[in-house]
Symmetry: D2
């Protein structure tokens, strides 16, 4: 299957405000029982980016035996939120203001992979995007795209 590169997004360099951003994001993720329910695992590859993977589980499925659309959306929201969180200051909390998911293809796979990244990092709001893939027998397929707006809540 030939693949063509579509575009390159130019984004401003990100500023690191929390040297422990990876560990802090992992701690926030680990505190979400719903993510354990889905057996999700978080990877922070770099500042402003996050990736969540989860295996196919019967308990995450819909009527045709694929990942449920609600699971796709939940992982997208969380990957986008974690990507935003990496740019916050230590002690800040995060709220999702809104998220939108476009489901492009059935989420038919052994594993699901949700990527989130920051498009615009503001003082209060962070705008993020996401792409969600499924892998089956080693083939990766884009099954959804997402956008999300995240809010930074300062500790004080």
């Amino acid at each position: 299957m030939p693949i063509k590169t579509g575009r390159v997004v130019a984004v401003s360099d990100f500023v690191c405000r929390n040297p422990n951003y990876d560990a802090d994001a992992q701690a926030m993720f680990a505190a979400q029982a719903f993510m354990q329910n889905l057996k999700g695992a978080l990877t922070i590859s770099e500042l402003g980016h996050a990736q969540i993977t989860a295996p196919f589980l019967e308990s995450s499925s819909q009527q045709h035996g694929f990942f449920h659309g609600g699971v796709v959306g939940a992982l997208a929201d969380n990957a986008m939120g974690c990507s935003a969180f990496t740019l916050f200051e230590p002690g800040d909390h995060i709220l999702t203001v809104e998220y939108k998911v476009n489901l492009l293809a059935p989420a038919d796979g052994d594993i699901i992979l949700a990527k989130g990244w920051v498009v615009k990092s503001g003082k209060t709001l962070t705008v993020t995007q996401g792409e969600i893939f499924v892998e089956k027998n080693g083939n990766r397929k884009l099954c959804a795209t997402a956008t999300g707006t995240m809010m930074r809540m300062t500790k004080s």
Copy 2:
């Protein structure tokens, strides 16, 4: 807390194409293992409307002990999808094209209640809206609004 009625949406009367819409929607819902994971229950009160309730579970929660935003979105998507499904013909399948959730308040409750209804029923696409409430100690609070676009897949 004083409540004020905001608006009334005028919608065209819905046309019933499937006399067994309630039973068929319940069967589709029951086949979704992820909904059993969340202990969701579907109620079809009338044509073009659907409601899903789910109890608070540790396994549905986020880091502050509230319903996870991904659970809020998943129930909203499903309630909107079921509302659209009631207007389909027997044997039709449904796909979510896209959905969007605005999180208005922490989903802090003993129970969550997602309502979905049809705004525009077309031959191929159905546009829906949703409102998601949490109840705590008998007090109901609006915690999210949603919109969704659903696609009808004919059996043939």
Copy 3:
């Protein structure tokens, strides 16, 4: 054409923080040359609600002689923004964070009418919704729904 009332949104009573909200919203609207381009007129019927009407103009049309979808979205965004603005403090500015439009039917009319209202009024963010109608020969038709997130910028 029989019309059925769909639902009633329960919203908290709004708090007025600016006794001159109507005049201030009108002044903000009047300063937008693009609204004059579309010959839009703003009506603030009550706190947290706004309505913009515009006549059909050749210069607002698309290839089939209807209002352009971009005009539908622009009026929806603005009606939602004005509804949020009525709840701000004197001197506050407003920014649209994001808006989404669902186009339900061709915007075929002599006049277009965009209604916006506040769903949740927060300190920083205001969540709004909108409905856009066209009228032709006295018949009103819902042609689009919208949601928008607005940000309050304090004068200081």
Copy 4:
């Protein structure tokens, strides 16, 4: 201002169903009087991609002298729609089902540039994305991102 490449989207190769896609897209664009109102110009650089530019006009502005958010959204919608249209068959029509715009920065520029491209091309629905830039004194700035769902209407 240092710029960093963010990501590369992998998309399937597009299939050309209309050898005259560029001329046909230009004809559709030229028939939209609202685009002439904004002095928009369409460029189809390649299959599945479209770009609209427009100069700053007083009549396209909001209260601070920037491009109006409604103009940003209208151009985004149209660039996304034209990108989808290039993949249609001769004689097909296009409808926008829904579009969403995130406004990231004030659209303060001498010229605005809306790019749209196809993420998923289906038989009935096409999912698109967009980015909108403003240029001032030769400096280009990302001012908005967008997503849109387009519907193909066959001539028969």
